[in-house]
Amino acid sequence: MNDWLSSPFFGIILCIAAFAVGVYIQKRFKTPLANPLLISTALVIIFLNVFDISFENFNQGGQIITMLLAPATAVLAMSIYRQFAILKKYFIPTLAGCLAGSVTSIITILLLCRAFGLDETLTSSLMPKSVTMPIAVGISEQHAGIASITVAAVVLTGIFGAVFAPVMARLFRIKNPVSVGVAIGTSSHVGGTTTAIQMGEVEGAMSSIAIGVAGLITTVIAIFL
């Protein structure tokens, strides 16, 4: 049985099935809280626990899906290219927003970690959590953080952004779609961007652009930390 489940097909099928359920639930209830990523992640964890299947078996297929995050990040170039006219028009505001946001993210995390008395390793693992997964993991490892904690923090941030981006836009009374997009991409990377794309074309495009720009800025800041 264990031998059979260590096939990479198992993990991939489980993810697709769980995601299908997540998408169905979101369509049914139409609330941002019913986030497909959140639901499907929870379903997979419950499934593995109930049937006592090891993470290693699941990850035979899982790591193939994770590998595809690299081309998915590269493809962000496509959305920047398609929205190049908007980016050119709002180049300076976008750059300023991503810079201010990235600095805010790093400073608040460093201060909060100190306030909660967390150790160096946890602090390094959390520090890059607002940027997209492959960049965040790279920065974390470079600063002796633990990659899987970074992954958890990045996913949590992404899900939070995906669920609450429209709420935050309303709460802070941000009406300009350019500002909303850049803010989503800078604060909650690809996770939030999935919601930004649903909010509108400009939001989605600016959010995708911000992932790349904020990722670049955070990488450069991290070199000096």
Partner: protein
């Protein structure tokens, strides 16, 4: 064959990105280099966009699906972070909200500033 060719180009760009990342003196994420390479490909030839269209759309539309295994990976580190779960979640949420607000206000502010400067120039 068309789709296979598109995937070939995308993976090729990622592979090249990893190679360049190894050559750089400072640690720089390979996927960001791949993104820059792909962008150069796109602006160097107008037809490259339609050449990559379908597979690029596939990755963009299913982006959140690709995060599932990483999310499930939380169970691996859960025991070691159980004690500091509340601070971790609080830090993630507070910093995300603050980052969102600062970014949004900065972008809106700079846009208004630019408009004000442009308006003054016209007068």
């Amino acid at each position: 064959m068309k789709l296979l060719w598109q995937i070939g180009i995308l993976f090729g760009v990622c592979f090249a990105g990893e190679g360049i990342a190894k050559l750089l003196p400072v640690p720089f994420p390979a996927s960001v280099i791949a993104m820059i390479l792909l962008f150069i490909l796109l602006i160097s030839n107008k037809r490259n966009e339609s050449r990559l269209g379908e597979s690029a759309d596939f990755f963009m539309q299913n982006m959140s699906f690709l995060f599932i295994p990483s999310g499930v990976g939380i169970i691996q580190v859960f025991d070691s972070i159980k004690g500091s779960l509340l601070p971790l979640v609080t830090i993630c949420i507070v910093s995300t909200v603050l980052t969102f607000a600062v970014t949004a206000y900065t972008v809106s502010g700079v846009i208004k500033l630019q408009e004000a400067i442009a308006a003054r120039r016209k007068v």
